[in-house]
Amino acid sequence: MRKEREITVEDALREGLTKEEFSRIIELLGRKPNYTELGIFAVLWSEHCSYKSSRVHLKRLPTTSPRVLQGPGENAGVVAIDSDLALAFKIESHNHPSYIEPYQGAATGVGGILRDVFTMGARPIASLNSLRFGDPSHPRTRYLLEQVVAGIADYGNCMGIPTVGGEVYFDHSYNGNILVNAFTIGLVDPKRIIKAKAEGEGNPVFYIGAKTGRDGIHGAGLLASSSFDEEAEEKRPTVQVGDPFYEKLLLEAVMELSGSPGVIALQDMGAAGLASSSFEMASRGGVGMELFLDRVPVREPAMTPYELMLSESQERMLLVVKRGYEEEVIRVLRKWGLDAAEIGVVTSDGAITLKKDGEVVAKLPVSAVVDEAPRYERPMRRPGYLDELEIDYDKLPPPSDYNEVLAKLLSSPNLSSRSWIFTQYDHMVGTNTVIRPGADSALLRIKGRKEGIAITVDGNSTYTYLDPELGAAIAVAEAARNLACVGAEPIGLTDCLNYGSPERPEVMWQFVKGIEGIRNACLALGVPVVSGNVSFYNETREKAIDPTPIIAMVGFLPDVEIHATPWFKHEGDVIILLGDISREELGGSEYLKLIHKLKKGKPPELDLVLEGRLGALLREGIGRRLFSSVHDVSEGGIATALAECGFLPSGEVLGAEVELPSPSFRADGLLFGESQSRVIISLPRENLGEAFKLAEEKRIPLEVIGRVGGKRLRIASGGRILIDTGLSFLRKGWEEFLPQFISRGR
């Protein structure tokens, strides 16, 4: 091996390793690593790649069901529909890059998750995203929002993969750390799933896709695995630059290759680039590789082995080909104008050997790098703030004008229409979008089949801040409910767990509680976790974001034609409320945050057994076509949900006259409280009897609360009119917030 300067512990620290980890590396190798080897260890032992702080806890998540073909650990999870069709999906974060360079950060976040899915041999059919921005008054928020949305739009639109939904919230806890979580789902023939397991001594290793440059070097290690500080801006060179056109070519080439007996294994060169793809593929197959770095296609001269291994240039993949099929592979890639370089060979020595200019520049045992990666059971401590969340409701004056409160809520940053965002996303390309963005779930048809696929993404970080375990469970329950509201049965989820620094015991406590909440909800609702992502270090100057577990859930409809949407359909339909209306649950509500400036209280209670029965009721009622509309009651409570039911997608409004039961508590709790497991349904009067029967059978409270009609929303309770306002007026404020917020910056 070439002689280099001796590596010191300072070098290791600079690479993001700890002193102890550096000692462990020396112990594992029986020598000091050279610079390239140190870089490989650093990036693969980074939090981002190794899950060293989360792995022991993630084990608690349920990951199996009769449908699961691939659980966590591959590029994406796979759930079967039947023997001919399966769904591959995953969610992933791209938070740090999106804060530093929002356009490219968000764009490459989409590019990365798309590659994760098509690497499995699945053709992506839709994407979702979950975004969190700082307070709208923060000087950077407008810029970040505009750039992130543009980045997502430009990448997804060019790829021709529709972005069919998502969620966006604003909170000051994200002022220094925004969240960009991207989800993609694809269709795959279970017999043609491609895995990332390198096998067969002597099989050639191909590098396919774009050329390697000096972008995103060590991004996973240095950017994704540490907190922000004053120098965050200087980390810009660690952000990658995306080219969706190139990725579209890569997608088509991989689709053409999938099913070929020549394809042994394929992995995206995402985080940690060539280093992670080669080591992880070799590890899964229990083999080694010899790689000739001179053969890596480059777009810049004189790249060092360190740079070649750690670059995160986009739109690249590593492919193991069965010996003898090289020409077929090259022919397909050339057709699509892509680089294909045979850069190495599978070996049986269990080591990755890197050669350059005829010399060995690094040689590391795969197991030392992958299996021996550190696993930490970090200390935990219940955060002190949790003891200061109680609200003295007696000191909260009830508002004098509920119309005004409702108008404020609907035109607020968190509850206003997202149309300004989703009209920038091509949400129809692919011609599978049955329910467009803006409903409880998006719904997709599958060409050539009867079934439908519903997808949703949910998470309420106010709840998870106030109660990390309950909040996480609610995210799962809410996702399942959103699927049930269109008539779908949940069959799998993928989670993106966004937290602060795991090195702080309070954050670790929040994280572990979050996992517990997800686990309990998954077990109760029978939904497995098939893939996911942990994003730690979302903090700046020791100020962590609110814990934000995001759940993307996938549901199945036996007949895509038979589904429900949230919007009122017919004048004269009866409106019913399913679920409990007897609790005063204002804790953690948008109402408290917006009107009383309070992020306090106890989030609403959650009865997971009841949630399961509610889902079954909704699916049965929708399946029997009893309902005209079905809409989940969530942020903003019953009053907000009723208004949303009246904001028809055509741009029209359809009103409602509602009489709520007289509560034993304050009216703002009735109108704006966010009790869980509640759904507003409108239905023809003649179906009411069947609805009652169903509700009795499933033991779900049912209350007839009004009828559809007119252009106003009237809500009374106990003989008192609480809300009486024109829906067109409400709609105007609801639609105008985002475009006006953006244009105010000009």
């Binding site: 639109n157 021709g160 056109f245 129809m428 011609t431």
Partner: protein
């Protein structure tokens, strides 16, 4: 009838268009690769939407130099039917088969939403089944659909009734707020002088089945089929 759907690198509405022709209209349809020099006996060639060559240089600019475009030009000269949708329209402009250029949308953003367009010509192979004045609800999805032409050329285009579709409101009236991208005279679709090349920014293939929220788009494809049958 035989439809050829052209695939450039970066085309992404190819399969959507293919699906409508094959599964909804039950017509014969095949893909044509941009390097092909044979249109394989197509009666109608469709240039679908997408981002050919990533819209590098200008939308449609690089695709207009693909080998297949030479074949399409001579196909057009012989009277063959060509329909360009969205990026396909832009390619036909770049190839000189249709007038005008597309500027960036007036709000400078990509816009994906339903709009209303009014049928201005019903005596074309593409609009046979539509009545002049009919208003269609149809989606657009583009960042550059702001149709522009020098004043005298625009005058000539209008004079020869080259405008086939215009953005209007639900009642069929021209209105600033009904024009999504700033296109001159609300132009959403134009035809060449011979009447055999149509370019349109909206996506008829996206509203050809009721399940997807509308099926008025299929009337355009059905018009072509009917015209070809009667030919």
């Amino acid at each position: 009838m035989r439809f050829g759907v052209v695939v450039f690198p970066g085309t992404n509405c190819d399969y959507d268009t293919y699906y409508v022709l094959k599964e909804v209209l039950k017509e014969e349809v095949f893909f044509l690769w941009h390097k092909d020099r044979d249109l394989r006996g197509a009666d109608c060639v469709i240039l679908p939407g997408g981002f050919s060559y990533g819209d590098y240089l200008r939308a449609g600019a690089l695709a207009s130099f693909s080998p297949i475009m030479e074949e399409i030009v001579s196909f057009v000269e012989k009277g063959g039917l060509v329909l360009g949708i969205c990026n396909g329209f832009q390619i036909l402009q770049e190839a000189g088969l249709l007038p005008g250029v597309m500027l960036k949308n007036k709000n400078l953003k990509f816009i994906c939403k339903d709009v209303f367009i009014r049928v201005e010509r019903d005596n074309l192979p593409f609009t046979k089944k539509l009545k002049k004045g009919r208003v269609l609800r149809i989606p657009i999805a583009h960042a550059e659909g702001n149709f522009y032409l020098e004043e005298d050329e625009l005058h000539r285009l209008e004079e020869r009734e080259g405008v086939v579709f215009r953005y209007v409101n639900e009642d069929g009236e021209l209105a600033p707020e009904a024009n999504p991208n700033g296109a001159l005279n609300g132009i959403a679709g134009v035809v060449n002088e011979k009447g055999n090349v149509l370019g349109m920014m909206p996506h008829p293939e996206r509203v050809s089945e009721p399940l997807l929220g509308g099926d008025e788009g299929r009337l355009i494809f059905e018009s072509v089929v009917e015209w070809l049958k009667e030919r």
